[in-house]
């Protein structure tokens, strides 16, 4: 079609697991902008591109099952449509679950916005013996319908063309709209007449009347404030028809049933599918857990086997050389400037960036597990354990991500719908050992424990998770007073992974981390550098060393009576893996023992174990704290989290050291 040089705003809507992000990625590529919806911790993605001479602004709405104000996502999606009034809303639906997916279409039609429907995954539906006729569905709905296989880039541009045709000629939009069941029509009309002329923009009276009947909390509040005189009358009427919301929903499905009756020419055959077979193992209470532990182990093994050589090369080959080059280049500059650049800037933030290979590989595997549909199963298997902490299966997913990096873990807690459950999940995420901490313990444990180091490392991870479970249970009992949140989650069909989707998942997560490294981590690196440099330009007499020495009495309780070890621990606040770099500076290289060997010499077995334990459970790094502040909207919860983790890490390490000493591990 020929463009007319216009600018169009299109919104992309759809339920979760319909391939909406695949469509979005295909249309926008890397020109997408990821941010937050104003004032909300819900991710907003948008992108701009040219198509046939038109400038298209595409906004990805949050994936929602319906448009009732049950969650921030649902409120955001409908508020965007009502307030911004995009030229066309593109709805992606899953052909293999067409009826349920059209529920969102039924809700969107009530908003009176021009709509096109993309029926995605028609290949999956066909595999299940289903056949859908897009033309018949189009005629029934009165809405343009395009069938697609987005994972193979089929139909996506036809969908865009259909949307642009509608955008250029909105008057042609003449859909059939769902109607309420006949028995509820009188009460709907009565409500309508009571609120007539009083409903504020951008809501329509008809829509508001229906949402009142549905018990929508947001609209109820809006109308209550707008109708001070008639509210009691409306409220009494609604009270009489309290159960109407179920009929409104049921009525939509009846309407959908009539719409698809002719369009689905062959129904699904009840054969046992691949998903059924895989789920027999993956969701089994016992075998599912065995599988999950196996997959977790494999993820770590793969991540470290593949990434560690690259990380070591980056650290010694690139970061050290850059630092050396920086020193040389600044040889004639004042000593403090050369140290600032070499140790502060390159040494601090550079070391953090050398972790990027670990993150890339971890997120690639995680993205793969998500894309094929396994992550939902892991949430299901973990549900019964998460219940002990008052959480449910969904909260397992952010914790899982936390193994890669706590920052996206904290942000990933957004998928937990309940506010308090989300808060508890965020507070627990720093107890998940991230790649930074793993790098430290895999570096030090062999020097401390020799042949038994692998056992010690796995033991530390297990102990860390036990601590997480205990803390979670206690927090739930004491602070959250026996939280109970509903676990309702779709189990998507398993399907083949899509490289593009996984690639963008890796890119978005890694880029978020690198941005953090470039800002907050850099800033904190510089502060710590200053503390280690001032006042005399020597670390042994620096402010940081004084702080370390001052803390020695407390350190001695956990066997850490050497200020250098304490300073290394404190510096993990920049980023967990920084401990190694700081130990390197303080112990100095050389004398044949290697850094880990030198540290092992001042820390006997019990103290060494205590050091690893305190390192694993220490306060969150600067970037994680910044993420917690962002997600909880203030410094209160990061501060509480730091206090909590200080108590946990200190008391656990003291316990480990004292017991270890009694058990003859040397003190």
């Amino acid at each position: 079609m020929k463009g007319n040089g216009a600018t169009y705003t299109l919104a992309l809507a759809g339920q979760p697991n319909v391939g909406k992000s695949t469509v979005f990625n295909l249309l926008t590529g890397l020109s997408q902008h990821v941010g937050n919806w104003p004032g909300k911790t819900v991710e907003q993605k948008s992108g701009e591109f040219n198509h046939d001479g038109n400038l298209i602004r595409l906004v990805d709405l949050p994936g929602t099952y319906s448009l009732t104000a049950n969650s921030d996502e649902e409120r955001i999606a409908r508020d965007f449509i009502l307030r911004v009034q995009p030229d066309v809303v593109i709805v992606v639906v899953n052909a293999a679950a067409l009826e349920r997916n059209l529920y969102l279409v039924a809700e969107l039609l009530a908003l009176r916005t021009p709509l096109v429907v993309g029926v995605n995954m028609v290949d999956v539906a066909r595999q299940q013996g289903m056949r859908i006729e897009p033309r018949v569905l189009e005629t029934a709905l009165g809405v343009p319908v395009v069938s697609m296989v987005a994972s193979h880039n089929q139909g996506v541009h036809e969908l865009l063309d259909a949307a642009l045709r509608l955008a250029a000629d909105p008057a042609s939009f003449a859909p059939r709209r769902p109607e309420i069941r006949p028995e509820h029509r009188p009460v709907l009309e009565e409500i309508h007449s009571l609120i007539a002329g009083k409903v504020p923009e951008p809501y329509s009276e008809e829509w508001a009347a229906m949402k009142l009947l549905e018990g929508d909390t947001q609209i109820t509040e809006v109308v209550r404030q707008a109708t001070p005189e008639t509210w009691e009358q409306i409220h009494a009427l609604l009270k009489q028809h309290e159960d109407a919301y179920l009929d409104v929903a049921g009525g939509r499905y009846e309407w959908i049933g009539r719409m698809v009756r002719a369009a689905i020419t062959k129904p699904r055959i009840g054969a046992i599918t691949l998903t059924d077979r895989l789920d027999r193992a993956a969701t089994h209470p016992f075998w599912g857990l065995v599988l999950l532990i196996g997959i977790l182990g494999l993820v770590f093994w793969l991540t470290y086997t593949l990434a560690m050589p690259v990380v070591n090369w980056l650290d010694t080959g690139v970061v050290s050389r850059l630092a050396g080059g920086g020193r040389l280049g600044l040889a004639f500059a004042p000593a403090w400037l050369s140290s600032l650049v070499a140790d502060g800037l390159i040494g601090g933030a550079g070391t953090v960036l050398s972790l990027v290979p670990i993150l890339i590989i971890f997120f690639a595997i995680l993205g793969l597990l998500e894309d094929i549909g396994y992550l939902a199963r892991s949430a299901y298997v973990m549900d019964r354990f998460m219940h002990r902490m008052g959480l449910h299966g969904r909260s397992f997913l952010p914790l899982f991500i936390g193994f890669g990096c706590n920052v996206p873990g904290v942000m990933g807690a957004r998928i937990v719908e309940d506010r308090r459950a989300r808060l508890l999940t965020i507070l627990l995420t720093p107890l998940v050992p991230c790649t930074g901490r793993m790098a430290v313990i895999t570096f030090l444990a062999p020097a401390f424990f020799g042949d038994r180091s692998a056992l010690v490392i796995w033991g530390l991870i297990a102990a860390n998770l036990v601590i997480l479970a205990i803390v979670g249970t206690l927090l739930n009992r004491l602070a959250f007073k026996g939280l109970h949140v509903a676990f309702i989650m779709e189990m998507p069909l398993y399907h083949l992974p899509n490289a593009r989707t996984i690639g963008l998942f890796v890119w978005n997560n890694t880029w978020a981390f690198m941005r953090k490294a470039g800002t907050i981590i850099l800033l904190v690196s510089l502060i710590v550098w200053a503390l280690a440099y001032l006042p005399a330009g020597e670390v042994q007499t620096s402010l940081l060393a004084r702080l370390g020495r001052w803390l020695e009495p407390a350190g001695r309780l956990m066997g850490l009576g050497d200020w250098r070890v304490i300073v290394a621990l404190l510096s993990s606040f920049i980023a967990k893996e920084n401990t190694i770099a700081v130990l390197g500076v303080l112990f100095g290289a050389g004398n044949g023992l290697g850094l880990a060997g030198q540290v092992a010499r001042v820390l006997p077995a019990a103290a060494g174990l205590a050091f690893l334990v305190v390192q694993m459970t220490f306060i969150p790094c600067a970037a994680t704290m910044a993420a917690i502040r962002q997600e909880t909207g203030g410094w209160k919860w990061p501060a509480i989290n730091v206090g909590l983790l200080l108590v946990i890490s200190f008391s656990t390490a003291v316990l480990v050291y004292q017991v270890g000493r009694l058990a003859g591990l040397g003190g």
């Binding site: 319906s66 049950n70 299901y380 998507p492």
Partner: protein
Amino acid sequence: MDNNPSEAIEQSGPWDGSREALKPLSDLPRESRAIVRSLRGGQGFSTRLAGLGVTPGVEVTVLQNFGRGPMIITVRETRIALGRGETSKVLVEAL
């Protein structure tokens, strides 16, 4: 908390006497089918389930129920995992 027996009785008790055919979804064995008759979890809970296809009158099939922990059901071509507490709030008529 889900396995708290008193809660289960509270949820299913009043129904067992008056409307014998209705029982909580959590009572259904694997591979059994039933018609949803009532959702007893308030507006927020019910509208969330409605978005996933669970409304009164719809047929559900139990894919997994091990007597404790969450369940998996199929409804309108969709697999849904529900926590044990949630399944006790969905009242069904077994087929």
